[in-house]
Each structure stands twice: as structure tokens, then as C-alpha cells.
Symmetry: C2
Subunit: 110 residues, 2 copies
């Protein structure tokens, strides 16, 4: 079966703000606060997850997450109110895109 | 400025058939036949371009490209009729996606 998939990036001033992976990271952190859980869900190393968090806040006047290293759960992160807002908007966009891509998939000729 | 970007992947039986990069590679090859030109345009090494070509044909009953190593131009590739067909369809899909994303970008709240 041939299928179209659309990946949603949000850019700000030509820098990447959100990607599908980053949004998934934010979502898991908003539910669990655990970097270890997030790294397992995204199937990447703990260190890479940590780096993704660093990237997330880079260049933003308001952070999306607050980090805390170490501890029993292997370090954690808390989403800020601004992070929650951005995540919600991203999910709304994803919903629009999902409807569009479902329609597109009924029309392709590949 | 905040802007949404949509990347188009085409999957066949859960394997990647085309990505934005692969489509660009096919397009340049259909115009120039030169791997060197393609690697410069995509800003990747010649070897990586060669590997992308290998990936392109993998798992397909009909190849998208024929390769020829070496020579003055640094090796080349010719798109098959099937490759041309797939590329044309991909570009049609991209046109639909472009119209959709332009509309989406007038409606976002980020």
C-alpha cells in the first residue's frame, strides 16, 4: 500500500521551533515529567533526549521547559505554561493536517 | 515570523519511497544526470548521494534510477520512465500540500 505522510515543522524566524519528535517529547513530559520515559518512547538515548531539550529552549525569549538533572527517575523536566500553549497549538495544526492527508491519500495515483 | 512547513514522505508498505530530499535528487538527476551536481545542490557528500541512490531502488520491483560509476563527471545516473512517473506524481502532491500550507499559515496563532 502506498501512503502519504506529512511531517509538521513549525519554524520561527527560520529556526526550527517544533518538529513531530519535539512535540512528542513535550507531550510525554507534560504527562510524566520523566526524561527516561520520553527517551524510551522516542527510541533515542537519554543523552539525546537531554540535547533535544536544550535545543527546544534555544533562541526563545520564554522557555518551553524547565529541566532538573539527576534524581531517582533519571532527571526530569516540567513544561511551562508557554510550552503547554505551543503544544496545544501544534496539536491543533496536526489535526488539520491529518484531515487533509487522509483526503489526499484517497486521491493519489502511486 | 512563525511559519508552518510540511515535509512530504511517500511510504510503500511502511517503507520510505520518497522524501523531499529524494525527490530533489531525482529532479536534479533528471535535469543533469550528474551525481556531483546533485550532491552540491543537496549539500551532502558525493558518497552520501551515492548511498541515497542505493536506498532509492531498494525493495522496488522496478528501479527509479540506473547508475553508472566513474567517468569525467564523477559518475552519473539516469532516471527510468518509472522514476519520472513517480517524480511527477510527487510534485503534484507537493503542489496540493503547498496550497494547503499557505492557507494554514494565514490561520495560525503561534
Amino acid at each position: 500500500m502506498t501512503e502519504i505522510e506529512l511531517l509538521v515543522n513549525v519554524k520561527r524566524d527560520d529556526n526550527l521551533l517544533l518538529t513531530s519528535d519535539r512535540a512528542q517529547l513535550l507531550k510525554i513530559l507534560s504527562q510524566t515529567g520523566s526524561l527516561l520515559t520520553a527517551s524510551k518512547a522516542l527510541n533515542i538515548s537519554y543523552n539525546k533526549t537531554w540535547l533535544m531539550l536544550e535545543e527546544l529552549n534555544k533562541g526563545l525569549s520564554k522557555p518551553l521547559v524547565y529541566k532538573s538533572r539527576g534524581g531517582k527517575g533519571g532527571g526530569g523536566a516540567t513544561i511551562t505554561d508557554y510550552g503547554q500553549f505551543i503544544l496545544k497549538e501544534y496539536e491543533l495544526i496536526e489535526n488539520h493536517v491529518r484531515i487533509f492527508v487522509n483526503k489526499l491519500n484517497t486521491e493519489i495515483n502511486l
